[in-house]
């Protein structure tokens, strides 16, 4: 009976082993969670976005990893496009003075009467969202801001998410990397 009794040293040894085991399990757990986080990306929800312009200035990447993406299936292909033209333009031409985009990142081309195609030049787009706001105000809302995952460095704490006044940024599973509004597919177009 007496032999079964543990002395203080054995007790401490057991405690130490138990603590070490728990620590290892804990670390494994944390690593597992962290490895899962790798499957998540920052993305902007266009239904919450207010096009405040901060995506252009807050991103750690220059120019911003947020870009305007055109959801062509939704577009009205309007002659007077609210995302392309400044308000109250006199002439619906491609003149720089008529364009809303501060960097001239939207290319307009004639398709057939009365349709015009609008394309975003990724290299010029700074993600300010002016065109998105104009498109939403006057059209179907086919221009939308999205984080371009080719450019995003996926910071642990996204600088734009911190500055976003409408909480439009969140981490999304990698399988749903793009969150277009009003369009069934979440694939990048």
């Amino acid at each position: 009976m007496k032999e079964n009794k543990k002395n203080r040293r054995d007790f401490l040894n057991t405690c130490f082993r138990f603590a070490a085991g728990a620590g290892i399990v804990g670390i494994a757990g944390v690593l597992a969670v962290k490895s899962q986080k790798g499957d998540f990306l920052w993305q902007l929800d266009p239904t919450k976005c207010t096009q405040c312009g901060r995506c252009a200035t807050s991103c750690v990447v220059t120019p911003s990893a947020v870009k305007c993406i055109h959801v062509y299936d939704m577009c009205g292909y309007c002659d007077l496009c609210g995302g392309y033209f400044r308000p109250n333009v006199k002439k619906l031409s491609t003149g720089a003075e008529n364009q809303l985009c501060p960097t001239g990142a939207i290319k307009r081309s004639y398709v057939e009467d009365p349709f015009f195609k609008y394309e975003i030049i990724d290299e010029l787009c700074i993600g300010c969202g002016k065109c998105v706001k104009g498109c939403g105000a006057f059209g179907n809302g086919s221009l939308q801001l999205q984080v371009s995952h080719d450019l995003c460095v996926n910071c642990n704490h996204c600088a734009i998410a911190r500055d976003c006044p409408s909480d439009a940024f969140s981490r999304v599973p990698i399988e749903q990397a793009y969150k277009f509004a009003g369009f069934k597919s979440n694939k990048k177009i």
Binding site: Q51, L80, P87, N88, L92, D113, P114, G136, F138
Partner: protein, 320 residues
């Protein structure tokens, strides 16, 4: 003495540092509001008060999940279509009847004899004034989607936004003609409808007025389907229409002026029979931003009834 002074100064310095740290940690300062890239649309939503010709005199709240369309009969009874029924109100807004419908009643109109025509997806139901079903017919075509109806005697006109055409039926549902199809020889350019807003109505001389929303145009047709008139106003300013599918809904005053409701920049305006801008009935500030589907009707006193589907009410406007 000197050591004591240094000690006190150190304590004060430490307190200052702690205070700064506490401020940084616990006090959030307002973010700078200025942003060089912000596109401020507030200015576009403002309307010069001298251009507003009407005042809102009444609001009638409607109990329904969704409001889709409004119509008025020759006794000034008001009909509102919802996702479940047709509500019939007297001219003061008191409910006098509720007709159950099969499906979402996206649009409706009332004939001179009191028959009620209801558009439900690709189906037109014609109900007698007591609400019983007179007859019903389906618009053929996989993409058929009815957005507006008009009736002149036995002629029923159906705006089909899905197939971008106006169907001409008789009251018994027999197809007579298709109106507005692209026909370069006849000078008809065809309807451009990027989103499901496609309205029509009967004019003062029984002509059919159809909105060509993608072109910001109004087109008039006779019962043979020939285009007899048109006007077009494309502009971001008050004098015209912009974006996809505007005006979204229309009605007509007794002098032949057009009442128009727009989406995007929500506003109700009046355009003269020539198409020129006349005045504003309701400025964008009266509507919640993003409101779509503002439907219109005009009663015998030229009061303009505006169906506000977001605030779920009928807003009645009278000339100032």
């Amino acid at each position: 003495m000197k050591n004591k002074l240094i000690l006190w100064l150190s304590v004060i310095l430490l307190l200052v540092v702690v205070a700064f740290m506490a401020k940084d940690l616990f006090v959030t300062t307002d973010r700078p509001q200025e942003n060089i890239y912000e596109y401020d649309l507030k200015e576009l939503r403002k309307v010069d008060s001298s251009k507003i010709s009407h005042k809102e005199v009444k609001q009638i709240k409607i109990q329904a999940n969704e409001l889709h369309g409004i119509a008025i009969d020759d006794k000034d009874q008001i009909y509102v279509s919802t996702d479940e029924n047709i509500l019939v109100l007297d001219s003061e807004g008191k409910q006098i009847n509720s007709l159950k419908v099969r499906g979402e009643a996206r649009c409706l109109t009332v004939a001179e004899n009191g028959n009620i025509l209801v558009g439900l997806g690709n189906r037109v139901d014609i109900r007698k004034p007591d609400g019983s079903l007179r007859n019903s017919f389906v618009v053929a075509g996989e993409k058929a989607f009815i957005t507006s109806l008009a009736i002149d005697g036995d002629n029923v006109y159906v705006a089909d936004a899905g197939q971008k055409i106006v169907h001409h039926y008789n009251i018994d549902g027999e197809k007579i003609n298709e109106i507005g199809g692209k026909n370069p020889e006849a000078g008809i350019k065809g309807f451009v409808i990027p989103s499901p807003y496609f309205d029509l109505m009967i004019g003062r001389q029984a002509e059919l007025w159809v909105v060509n929303p993608g072109r910001h145009a109004f087109e008039a047709y006779n019962s043979r389907g020939e285009q007899i008139s048109s006007w077009e106003r494309t502009s971001m300013s008050l004098d015209g229409f912009s974006g996809c599918c505007n005006p979204a809904n229309i009605a007509m005053l007794s002098d032949g002026s057009f009442v128009t409701a727009e989406k995007g920049l929500e506003r109700v305006k009046i355009h003269l029979p020539s198409g020129d801008f006349k005045s504003v009935v309701a400025a964008p500030e009266l509507f919640e931003e993003g409101t779509v589907g503002i439907d219109l009707a005009v009663d015998s006193q030229d009061r303009i009834l505006v169906l506000d589907p977001v605030q779920k009410m009928i807003r009645i406007f009278e000339a100032k």
